[in-house]
Symmetry: C3
Subunit: 259 residues, 3 copies
């Protein structure tokens, strides 16, 4: 009765997510499959890492989380399986797992090397179907971890992940646009709760956006930055969509100005 | 082998629906979960009520229907569980269940008060994950209904639901835009089938839309109003999208003019 | 432990796909259901046929594939069940199954005639719920094929499916826009790999699009035609969306010019 979750940027218009489910159920017809989302913006690893971090922890212990946003597919980037105290995580080693893993106690990390576990032939572009789905399905049937490949010591962090502090300013980046149009940044929420936080500016956007505690602290239709329940500073518009109304996208530089 | 259905306005880009599934399967790993939709327009309770009414009855007896479009989340609105002769319904008591319940024989209504059943801590904004999902999952495992909370006598109706008749005109409102762009109103379909029905007008739209019996009764690209199979009068464009072509949205006033 | 897959143009905003699942689980609560997609462009049978062809083969033997894009619903078009060496296929007999069936060994074809298997009453517009879902569910419980209806000899092909060769030019059509905006045509991929292939032109689009072997063979932002992994010639933009950047839609004429 184990569970596999799927999180990708494959969209839902094509056969990609369905093909992964077919491969999984061909190997283990009893496993349950839950889509977290297939609508990560194409290639946005940081956005996928953020969504995984927010969603993975609701699943029961033993769940296998598969996250595939993989702009380096076909190149030399490696793929990993990470066993933590509660879960398994599978994905390319490009930072996609890193935000979730910060909250977990890591037991071991294995690099995919045993090609016997893969679907044949392995395509150059669809490792979700050919590599990640079959390894996850075999794991759900009790595959020994040392069959996957050799241990490795560490996993890659997101390149964007550490905000940089310069005098009077903290520089960061936007990492995810949620379905309401709220823009989540990589700045820790406690920065927004500091009394020194004054306003935030977004590259390519002229407005200074004030830091406030809740939506209604600004007039309807006005932007604000506030601490999100996910632990990051978020840019929103009271009653609107910050992404649309301000034209902000993922992977854009932001600067938090201090008093 | 029970089933839980989910109907929300959470969208499918984020982790929200996935988180609900994780919570449900953490409590009852054997229950089946069916998404009805997560793409109700944000906060449109009447639209959710309409979609639930159209879809719930295809599921087998014993199914637990969870509907969460909840603009009042965090306020004093109550949450309810309704047992009918065939099903269970769970949601905020804001009218979202009311159109479906009209067709059902109600056995009892319970107001959520037993916080022991909830996921801790309960957030202010995500009761789908923290309250509705865990109560539904416990119910699927046989929770006694009196554990949920005290009985209440009635449930809230949609405020928009009763059309108003004035001399020569019946006033109503649009309640749902379907995926084809058809605009469903709260006017009963038999009004459209009356020989007295002449045309309909939509607030903010200059055209008079004639009442007809079928799409091809007007030229391709032209609008009409007709009786929908769901029991309501619907505005459509022959071969087009009424929502897009006429710019009609949910929650807009309509007036049916009689001869 | 059998599996039913669903592929439709019903969208995911309404109750349509959920209703099919409810009907299926009412008849067989143990069967697994996988959505391939519900976002085929409305009425585009060739697009559905292409997506089915790409996705069906990942599922285990015995899977029942249900494909419903059915612009002729309510007319005299017939519905069929096709048993092949590995799978069952169910859908309207309008070509939607034809691309997948080319790869399969057909055992028998049955035309739906036994109305006792249907949900009552059968609506004029929602055969996915009333006819296709219940027959698929009964099949998953072991329904004898001769109960469905009489054998028929053949199934309909897509009308667009055969490219036409004229002097120096091969005429075909676009059949699917994938989620990345790549435009798949009905021209076999080996035509693109021939040294004689020079360029392709799309009706309503002035540019000559060169045939190349891989994306990076043209500058970023430029269009090309190349052999897709699905076996067809595909039109793409390096780093962009051919559908959006060039304004190409499904069911548009293309001409491959030879040297």
């Amino acid at each position: 009765m184990s569970i596999i979750t799927l999180l990708t940027d494959f969209g839902t218009r094509d056969w990609f997510a369905g093909a992964m489910k077919g491969v999984i159920w061909s190997i283990n017809p009893r496993v349950r499959i839950a889509d977290i989302t297939h609508e990560i913006e194409s290639g946005q690893v940081s956005s996928a890492a953020f969504v995984l971090q927010c969603g993975y922890g609701c699943f029961p212990a033993g769940t296998i989380h598969v996250a595939v946003v993989d702009p380096g597919v076909g190149s030399e980037r490696s793929a990993i399986l990470v066993q933590t105290a509660r879960y398994y995580f599978i994905g390319p080693d490009n930072g996609i797992l890193s935000l979730a893993l910060r909250h977990e106690t890591i037991r071991q990390i294995r690099r995919f090397e045993n090609t016997q576990l893969f679907r044949k032939p392995v395509s150059r572009t669809f490792h979700g179907r050919d590599i990640f789905a079959p390894v996850a399905a075999r794991l759900s049937r009790g595959l020994a971890l040392d069959r996957v490949g050799p241990r490795q010591e560490d996993y890659r962090q997101l390149s964007c992940v550490a905000p940089v502090k310069k005098k009077g300013v903290i520089e960061g980046t936007t990492i995810h646009i949620d379905g309401f149009g709220n823009v989540i940044t990589n700045l820790p929420a406690d920065m927004a709760q500091s009394s020194r936080a004054a306003f935030i500016r977004v590259a390519g956007c002229r407005r200074s956006i004030p830091v406030r505690s809740f939506y209604q602290a600004v007039p309807a239709g006005s932007p604000l930055a506030l601490a999100g329940s996910h632990g990051y500073l978020e840019i929103a518009v009271n009653g609107g969509s910050a992404a649309r109304d301000l034209g902000i996208r993922a992977n854009t530089q932001v600067k938090l100005h201090l008093r």
